[in-house]
Symmetry: C2
C-alpha cells in the first residue's frame, strides 16, 4: 500500500455498507433529517441485486449486468455522500471509522455490513478447491462464477433452500445437468411436507435430479479439483462444479472487533429500534441479530425485505424515536417461483409450531385464481393457514399459485404482523374480479380461515 | 296458474336467493349448524357469475355458458335443500314464506334477494324500447342481450363505473363501435382524477369513444326503437343499441311488503350481525342496507365480495353470536382490468375525503413490479395512499399495475379494515422476489406510506 493518502472526512451519519439495508437506511435517515450530512462507505463501486443473483445464471436475466443494483432512481440519493473504500476498523469511543484511504468522523453510525456465505464444517477443508463455490454477492464474484460455469456441464448444488432451488432450476434452463442435494425436503424451513412435495414434483419435472434426505458428508477431490460429493450413506455423486447454497452468516468481524455485543448466530445485538447498546450505533440488515416474531427465538432468516424494514426503523430513529412499534422480530416471509408456480410462506410451519409447543390448528383451501374457472389463464391457487388454537391468531401461512401469490402472501404477512385472528379473516372484505382473483365465494384466505375454525371445533 | 299444487315444506333455515350472498350464507350456516335443515329458494335453475357478465359479451369468455355459476364444487352443498320457485310473500309473524307452488315454514330466514338495475328518471319512459337494455343478472336475460347484440354494430353504453367500462372494452374486442357516456370521469367513485385519466387513456386507445363530462339527457327514439342519446349540451349520438350501466338498487319489494324496515337507498335495515329488527330474520348482500366503513354514510356500493363477507357473518350468527366484530361497513374495495393494466381501489378517494371534511394526507409512489427492472415481464406499478393527517390511519388506496395489483389492493383493504396507520406500513415486512414483486427497497405500499409521512410534515 504505497503512497497511501488518508482523506479525513467528517459526517453526521455514517453507514457502512450499501446493500438494500444500507441504502434504505441512508434514504430514510435523509428523509427524517434533511439537514444532516449522510455518508455511505462501501468496498466496491458496482453491486448486484441480491435476490436476483440466481437469475443471472439461467435464461431469466442471463447476464450479470442486467442484475446490477440501481442506486439511483431517487434524485434524493444524490445528496448522500458515497465513499468507495474498505473499512478496516471502528473506534466507537472516538466515533471514528478507519478505511484503507479514509478516516471518517461520525455522530451516528449504522452497520449494514450484510452477510457472507456460511460454510459447514464438512466443507471447510475443501471450500478453496478451484471448482467449489459459495454464492457470494459481490459483483465480480457473481461474474467469476458465471464465467466459470460457462463451459461446465455437471453441477451439484448443495442446499435446497430458496437460493439452492432457484440456482438449480436456472442452471437447468441453460441445459446443465444439475443434482440438488439436501438433508431434508426442498424449502423445508418454509413449507410443510405436503406443500414441499408439490415443489419437488415441479423441480424434478424441470429436469433437476434430487438427492434429498441425506446430508452431504464431504466433497471428494483429486488435487485441487473437486470430483463430486459423498452423501452420508456412502453414495458418491460426480460433478464438474460444486456450489454450496447452504445459507449465510452475519458479516460482523468489524463490529466484534469494535467491541459491540453479538447475539446468538453472530449477529450484532440490537433492540427494537435497531440500536446497539450504544445509542449512537445502529445495525440493520443481515449483519444484525434477529429474533423470530412468533417463537421469539434467535433467527437465522435473512431477507432483503426484512432488512429494508429494519433500515426504515433505524433511519427514522437515529436522533429521536417517533413510533412505539419498532422491529419486533422477523415473520420469515418468503416467495419464489418454481417452474410456473409460485411458492410463498410466512410465519411458522406446522412442523415448527409443533417443535415450539404451539397449540395450533391449520386449515387448507384450494380454488381457482380466476372466476369463473373458464377464464383463459385460470389456474389452481391454494392457501394453508396456521393459527393458535385458543386465540385464533394467525401464526403461519403457505400459498401456492400463479404470480399474484407473491402478493397474497403479503396479505397473510400483514395479518400475522397485526396479530389478527381467523375471525377477522372470515369477514375480510376483499376485491375480487373475474380476471384477477378467485371468486368472492371461495377466496382462499377466507376459506382457509373457515377451515381453521371448522378444524378447531373438532 | 291452473292445476296449482302447493307443496308444504318445513325447514330450520330458509334463504331467499342463491347468488353469491345466498350460497355463502347457506354454506356458512351449515358449517355452524350441521344438524339444522337448510333450504334455499331461487327463481331459476341456472345462474350467472355476476362479475363475469361483461366478459360474456367480448372475447374473454365469449359465451353465456362459460359464465355459469358453479353451485357445486363443495360436496357439503349437496346437503342444502334447493327449491326452484318464485317467492310471492313473506309472513314474518307466522314465519312462513309463500311461493307460486310452495309454502315454507322456517325458523330463521335470510333475505338474499340481491339487486336489480337502477333506472334513472331520464330513461324511465324509454327503458322498454326494443333496443334499450339494462344489464340484468338472470341467465336468460344475459343470453337475450348477447343474442341481440350479435348483429348490431353501434352501441352506446351509459355509465362509466366498473360494469360500464368492462362492457365497453369487451364489446370493442368483438369489433363493435362503442361510445361510453358519463357525467364525470370513468370510475369516478373509486379513483381520483389523476388515476382516472390513466384509465381513460387506455380505454380510448382500445378504441372506445368517450363522451365524458356530460349527462345523457334522454334516449331519442322513433316508434319502438331508440335511435340514440341526447347529451345535456344538446349533442346527439346515434346508436343501434343502448345499454344502461347506471348501477343497481336493492331488490327489496318482498321485504318491504313483509313490513321490514328499509334503510336509505331502499336496502333492508340490518345491524352489524346482519339481523333485521326481528332477530330471526337476516338480510345479506345487495338487498341489505349498507354503510361506508370510513364515512359512516349510507352506501350504494354493491360487491359480491362484500356480500360474501356479510353472508359469512349472518351464517355464523343465526343462533348465537360468536365474535364481537360484525360487519362494520363496506370498505368499497374494487378491482378491474382495462387493457393490460389493473386498476384497483379501496376506501375513500381524495375527492370523497374532501367532501366528507376529512383532514387527510396522500402519498404516491411508482416503481416496477419486478426487480431488477430488467426481468422480462416487468412493468410499472403505482400505489396511492390516503391517510388521516393526525392519526395516520389509512383510509384509502388506489393501485395501478399488472395482475398482482388485484391482490395488492387486498393488502390495503386489510390495512383499512384493521385501522392500521402509515407508521405500521412503513416497517411492514413483505415478501419480495425478483420474478414476483417490486424491490424490497421500493415496495410501493411502504414507499407510499413514507410519502404520506413526508407530505404530512410539510
Amino acid at each position: 500500500m504505497k503512497n497511501k493518502k488518508t482523506n479525513i472526512v467528517t459526517t453526521d451519519i455514517l453507514i457502512i455498507g450499501a446493500g438494500p439495508a444500507g441504502m434504505v437506511a441512508a434514504m430514510t435517515a435523509m428523509q427524517h433529517n434533511p439537514n444532516k450530512q449522510i455518508t455511505v462507505i462501501r468496498s466496491y463501486e458496482k453491486s448486484q441485486v441480491p435476490c436476483g443473483i440466481p437469475y443471472v445464471f439461467g435464461t431469466t436475466l442471463g447476464s450479470v449486468e442486467k442484475n446490477a443494483m440501481a442506486c439511483g432512481g431517487n434524485p434524493a440519493a444524490d445528496k448522500i455522500e458515497k465513499i468507495i473504500d474498505t473499512v478496516t476498523g471502528v473506534d466507537i469511543e472516538k466515533k471514528m471509522v478507519t478505511a484503507l484511504n479514509h478516516s471518517i468522523n461520525f455522530d451516528k453510525l449504522i452497520f449494514a455490513t450484510g452477510s457472507i456465505p456460511f460454510v459447514h464444517k464438512n466443507f471447510q477443508d475443501t471450500i478453496n478447491l478451484d471448482n467449489v463455490f459459495t454464492i457470494r454477492k459481490e459483483y465480480h464474484e457473481v461474474e467469476k462464477l458465471k464465467n466459470y460455469l460457462e463451459n461446465r456441464q455437471k453441477i451439484i448444488v448443495i442446499g435446497a433452500g430458496f437460493i439452492g432451488v432457484e440456482m438449480a432450476t436456472e442452471l437447468i434452463s441453460k441445459g446443465k445437468e444439475v443434482i440438488l442435494v439436501s438433508g431434508g425436503h426442498v424449502l423445508a424451513d418454509s413449507f410443510d411436507e405436503d406443500m414441499a412435495l408439490k415443489a419437488e414434483e415441479i423441480v424434478k419435472n424441470l429436469g433437476v435430479k434430487l438427492a434429498l434426505g441425506q446430508h452431504a458428508n464431504h466433497i471428494t477431490h483429486k488435487d485441487e479439483m473437486a470430483t463430486g460429493v459423498e452423501l452420508c450413506d456412502g453414495t458418491t455423486l460426480d460433478a464438474d462444479v460444486i456450489i454450496l447454497a447452504t445459507g449465510y452468516e452475519p458479516n460482523t468481524r468489524l463490529a466484534a472487533e469494535a467491541g459491540l455485543k453479538l447475539a446468538r448466530y453472530k449477529g450484532i445485538w440490537v433492540d427494537e429500534y435497531m440500536r446497539t447498546r450504544n445509542k449512537d450505533i445502529f445495525a440493520v440488515g443481515d449483519c444484525c441479530g434477529r429474533r423470530d416474531f412468533i417463537t421469539r427465538d434467535p433467527s437465522k432468516v435473512m431477507l432483503a425485505s426484512t432488512s429494508a424494514s429494519e433500515a426504515r426503523i433505524a433511519g427514522g430513529s437515529l436522533y429521536k424515536l417517533e413510533h412505539l412499534k419498532g422491529f419486533d422480530g422477523t415473520i420469515a416471509i418468503f416467495s419464489t417461483m418454481i417452474g410456473d408456480r409460485v411458492f410463498a410462506s410466512a410465519g411458522v410451519t406446522e412442523q415448527r409450531a409443533t417443535d415450539e409447543n404451539i397449540d395450533y390448528v391449520s386449515g387448507f383451501f384450494e380454488s381457482m385464481n380466476r372466476h369463473p374457472g373458464t377464464i383463459p389463464d385460470a389456474s389452481k391457487q391454494s392457501v394453508k393457514l396456521i393459527a393458535m388454537r385458543s386465540s385464533g391468531q394467525i401464526i403461519g401461512g403457505q400459498v401456492i399459485g400463479d404470480k399474484e401469490a407473491g402478493e397474497i402472501i403479503n396479505i397473510l404477512g400483514l395479518a400475522i404482523e397485526s396479530k389478527l385472528t381467523v375471525h377477522s379473516l372470515i369477514s375480510l372484505q376483499v376485491a375480487t374480479q373475474p380476471l384477477l382473483t378467485s371468486a368472492p365465494t371461495t377466496y382462499p384466505i377466507v376459506m382457509a380461515a373457515q377451515a381453521v375454525l371448522a378444524n378447531s371445533q373438532r
